[in-house]
Symmetry: C2
Subunit: 309 residues, 2 copies
């Protein structure tokens, strides 16, 4: 009997789910919207409905379990989310156990960037390695670290908050309380902030700044250069810390790769003798916004593999 | 039959070795000097002589193997040292295999800071955890990361070069090619450099600066405060990256703990929400200069434990 798992990507706006075979083949998917206005029970209802609709379609197959990727910190032991800005009603709510009880199958909760990193390791750009670091470059910067094939969680589940590596000690203020976090100097939001500082236009989006860079606007190009340098400081330190073979980037900002990567690479080269002396790779992730679905689905599959060994 | 292992700490000047029971009890030790003037074969002779003199004393016990901690990067697969400033004749020499052949017992080569981290995990301040980070504060800053009870090596063995985390993007130049490495802002050498910049005296040692701080000299205290802040930036990022329960410090600079730790703690507190929201501990290591001997001896013991499971 073929085996599959269900991966869920729960965002503040969208709810996505996919049925993925244990072999890694995407079998089917479904989408819904996340309704946060009626409390956590409603969100649980919607997630359960998505999972059940997929399960109904594969009644002849064995369900290994479900994984759910969410933005925010996970308290792994308790199975709930803390400090999520995108899903405030779910904070401290026992979401994992609530869904598990309704479904009668094992449910894993995971930070969305961690899930994306695991997805890339399973079926994406990291298939050939056991250790990798992923940075998701969006409105913020998320991170996931895969160590010996598994998500690195730390002791409460808050590991890999790579967006909060300090790259400019007295730099831009961050919501986390720090200053100079890489996510305040190298995210889409940081790009928009720099465009504003340079008076490039009214309320430009990161995409607008990218279009200006493509059109030859030197100040827009300087923004991506600065962003690449700041990101490079963080990646150089990560390489010196981990000596992993692979550092991946994903997220919307990746579109501007040609404008920030050369500066990033220059920065990493001079800041990391490990980079200069090894075949360390810095690459684009491959699975795009589906990485989290793959990673979430892989959680129950991986748990079974470990148990069997 | 009781089992034991031999740990070796090979420095640029001193060669130390100890016989340590598999239970962790230090049984006996020996010391010699490192003679680098006559090439790598002579160093191998001296190491083998140290190990054999200990082995002769425990003829009735089973030797699990020997571990050797060395300053420099280890190419784990090849079993040799690269880029060691303290042991230049040994660079790229197949030291592990040479010793193994002579002794007829399994030999493990390990970076000295990694060995110290493992020693603290086995018999020191990290006995109650499976994951920890160690920073050795001496003339430079070394690092070791213990992940799930084992040394994190990275893919060629260059992981945990924590002294080369960038904390001041345009800071002091470092021999590694970077600027603003934490080891150029928070080591004994950095303390001496700051004392020179403040014209505190002629060629003051870090110990001299410490004595001035104890005597109430405000500029000496400001140096330790700056040093603590710079170290705090690195430790805050490490906490945000790993979310491990324990961060240890060892080395000669530890004597000035009361003068740098308050500034370090302030820095970590505001730069790491993970620190503020978890029971993360930042502590002094316990085994002092013997940590490396314990960790080196534990390498063959741990390898056997793994094989048996």
């Amino acid at each position: 009997m073929p085996e599959y798992a269900i991966g869920v990507d729960l965002g503040g706006t969208n709810l996505k789910a996919a049925a993925i075979a244990s072999s890694g083949e995407m079998l089917d998917r479904t989408n819904a919207t996340t309704d946060l206005t009626e409390g956590p029970e409603r969100v649980v209802d919607d997630i359960v409905a998505c999972i059940e609709s997929l399960r109904d379609r594969f009644a002849g197959s064995r369900l290994a379990g479900a994984g759910i990727g969410v933005p925010g910190f996970i308290r792994m032991a308790e199975g709930f989310i803390v400090g999520s800005h995108n899903l405030p009603p779910l904070n401290n709510y026992p979401i994992r156990d609530a869904i598990e009880k309704r479904l009668g199958t094992q449910v894993f909760l995971e930070n969305d960037a961690n899930a994306a990193a695991l997805g890339e390791k399973w079926m994406g750009a990291g298939r050939d390695v056991e250790d990798l670091v992923l940075l998701t470059l969006g409105t913020g910067i998320g991170g996931g670290v895969i160590s010996r094939g598994r998500v690195m969680h730390g002791f409460v589940g808050m590991a890999a908050e790579l967006g909060h590596i300090t790259v400019v000690p007295n730099g831009n203020p961050c919501g986390c309380g720090n200053r100079g976090c890489v996510e305040k100097h190298a995210s889409a939001t940081a790009i928009e902030s720099m465009a504003n500082l340079l008076a490039l236009g009214q309320n430009l989006s990161a995409k607008d700044v990218y279009d200006l860079a493509v059109a030859g606007e030197e100040r827009a190009r300087a923004i991506f250069k600065t962003m690449g340098q700041c990101l490079g400081i963080a990646i150089a330190s990560l390489i010196n810390i981990f000596n992993y073979p692979l550092y991946l980037m994903s997220g919307g900002v990746l579109a501007a790769w040609d404008y920030f990567y050369p500066a990033l690479l220059d920065e990493v080269r001079w800041r990391s003798f490990t980079f200069r002396n090894t075949n360390t790779r810095i690459e684009k992730a491959l699975l795009g916004s589906e990485a989290g679905l793959y990673g979430a689905a892989y959680l129950p599959v991986q748990a079974q593999l470990t148990t069997r060994h």
